[in-house]
Subunit: 281 residues, 2 copies
C-alpha cells in the first residue's frame, strides 16, 4: 500500500483507468471518485474503478485523502486544485494528468499551502474514446509518464509520485514544464490537429473511398473536441510554432512534387520512413 | 474456375496477395509469377502464391495466360503492358493494380491490339510493408477496388474483371480515370504525404516522447519511398491540389489557435470528429 486514501477528481478515461489500476495493484486502501454526475460514479463503482464516490468537491471524505488526482480538463486543474487545497489540514500530494503543464504549474507554484505538494504529471496514454466506459486497467502499462517538477516541488513528493507511476507500469521521464509543453506540442498536439485538418480536407466523393490508411491517419481526430480546445488554449505559442514547422515540411514535399523533383522527394520520403521505422523498434 | 492461366507480373505485397487469394479460391487453373529475382519466386511458390515462376518477360509460358495482372510500379505499367501485348496472339485481359490511373490508361488506350483488353484496377488495400513476405490471403477481403473503364474498354472484359474482384472479396466501384485520380489524391496520396511531413516535423527531443497517437498518424509514412515517388510522379496536379487544400485547413486551425478563438476551433474539431466517426461506422 502506497496510500491510505486516493481521491480521483474526474472519473473519465484517464481518472477511471487510474482508479482501476490503483485498486487492482492495491496501491491504496481506498479510492474515492468525484464526478459531476452520479451515473458516472455508479459505472465507476460497478467496473471497480472506485470504492465510493461523491458529486461534491466539498464532501469531507475527500479531506482525509493522502493523494488527490486532478483528472479534470486542463483549464480546470488550477482552479480545482486551489479550491481543494485550502481545505486540507494534513500533508497531501496533488497530481494532475493534463496534456499541458506550464499554464497549470505557473498558476499553482507558490500558491498552495506548505502541506499540499503539487507534482505535475502527464501520462502519455489515451484514446480517441473518452469517459468512464473507455477506462482500461492496462492503459498506463508501458506508457510514458512525464513529470514536471519545479524548484517549488517537494523532492519527497516527487519521489512518491515517481514510484506511483512506475508501479502503474509507466516509464517516468522528468522535464521542466516548458520543455514538456514544447515537445508535447510537436509529438501529440500537432498530430491531433494535423489529423483533424486531414479529416476535413477530402470532398464527400473522395471520402467515400476512404480505406484503412485514411482511417489510421485520422483516428485521433475523433477525440473529444472540448478537451482538445482546452489543450490548445493552454499551449498556444508552442502549438502555433509546431503547426508552422509542419507547414514548412509540407511545403517542401509539395514543391518537390510540383517540380517533379524525384530525387528531392525521395530524400524527404526516405528520411520520414527512417523516423517511422525507429518508432516501431 | 474463372481463368485457365493467370500471369502475375510483380510478385510483391499486392501481386503476391492476389496469387495467394486466386489460388486459395480456385479462380484459375494455374498462376504463374514473374519477378526480377528468383529468390522472390522461390518464396512466392513456398507460401502458395504461384504455381511456377519466371524471371523473364519473354518466357513463352506467359503467352498462354488469359489474364495478365501487371503488379509493377505505376511508372512501369504502360511500358510492360505494351511490351507484353505485342506478343499475345489470342484474347487476353490485362489489368493493373496501380494507385494512379489517368497516366496509365492514356498510354494504353488505342495502343493495344484488339484481342488485348485492358481494364484499369486499383485495389485500395495495402500496408506500409511491402514485398512477398508481407503478402496476405485476406488482403482484398472487404476492401474497395476501383475499376476505371474508358470508351475503349471491352464491356465483356470489364464484366469479367468486376466478377474477379468481387470473388476476391472486394467491393467494386467504377470511376473514370480522372475521377479516380482526383479522389485518391485526397484520400490516399495526401494522407501519405501528410504522414511523411508529420514524421519529419518533431525535433529529436520531442520524438523521444512519441506515443501511440504519433505512431498511428505516421504509420503509413513507413511505406516504400520509391513506390510513393512513382505515385506522386504520375498524379502530380491532383496531389498538389490536395496538398494545397490541406494546408488551407491547417491554416484555419492555426488561426483559431493563435487568436484563441475557442468557438471557431471547436467548430473545426467537431466537424473533423463527425467525419472520423462516420468512417468507423
Amino acid at each position: 500500500m502506497m496510500f491510505n486514501k486516493v481521491a480521483i477528481v474526474g472519473v473519465g478515461l484517464i481518472g477511471g483507468s487510474l482508479g482501476l489500476t490503483i485498486r487492482r495493484k492495491k496501491l491504496a486502501r481506498r479510492v474515492i471518485g468525484v464526478a459531476r454526475h452520479s451515473a458516472t460514479l455508479k459505472t465507476a463503482k460497478k467496473i471497480g474503478a472506485i470504492d465510493s464516490g461523491t458529486v461534491s468537491l466539498s464532501n469531507p471524505e475527500l479531506l482525509t485523502a493522502d493523494l488527490v488526482i486532478l483528472a479534470v480538463p486542463p483549464e480546470k486543474v488550477a482552479e480545482v486544485a486551489l479550491k481543494l487545497a485550502g481545505r486540507f489540514r494534513h500533508p497531501v500530494i496533488f497530481i494532475d494528468v493534463a496534456s499541458t503543464k506550464q499554464a497549470i504549474v505557473s498558476k499553482l507554484d507558490k500558491k498552495l499551502p506548505k502541506h499540499v505538494s503539487f507534482v505535475g504529471a502527464h501520462p502519455m496514454a489515451g484514446s480517441e474514446r473518452s469517459g468512464i466506459d473507455a477506462a482500461r486497467v492496462d492503459l498506463y502499462e508501458g506508457a510514458l509518464c512525464v513529470l514536471t517538477p519545479t524548484r517549488q516541488t517537494s523532492r519527497r513528493a516527487l519521489k512518491t509520485v515517481q514510484t506511483l507511476w512506475t508501479r502503474l507500469g509507466s516509464r517516468v521521464v522528468l522535464l521542466s514544464p516548458d520543455q514538456h509543453d514544447a515537445r508535447v506540442a510537436q509529438i501529440s498536439h500537432l498530430p491531433h490537429l494535423a489529423a483533424s485538418a486531414l479529416a476535413l480536407t477530402p470532398d464527400s466523393a473522395a471520402l467515400a473511398l476512404a480505406a484503412c490508411g485514411f482511417a489510421d491517419t485520422t483516428r485521433i481526430a475523433a477525440g473529444d473536441p472540448e478537451l482538445w480546445a482546452g489543450i490548445c488554449a493552454t499551449n498556444r505559442p508552442e502549438i502555433v510554432c509546431a503547426l508552422r514547422r509542419y507547414r514548412e515540411q509540407l511545403q517542401k514535399i509539395e514543391k518537390a512534387v510540383a517540380r517533379n523533383d524525384r530525387a528531392g522527394l525521395l530524400r524527404l520520403l526516405k528520411s520520414a520512413r527512417q523516423r517511422c521505422l525507429k518508432l516501431y523498434r
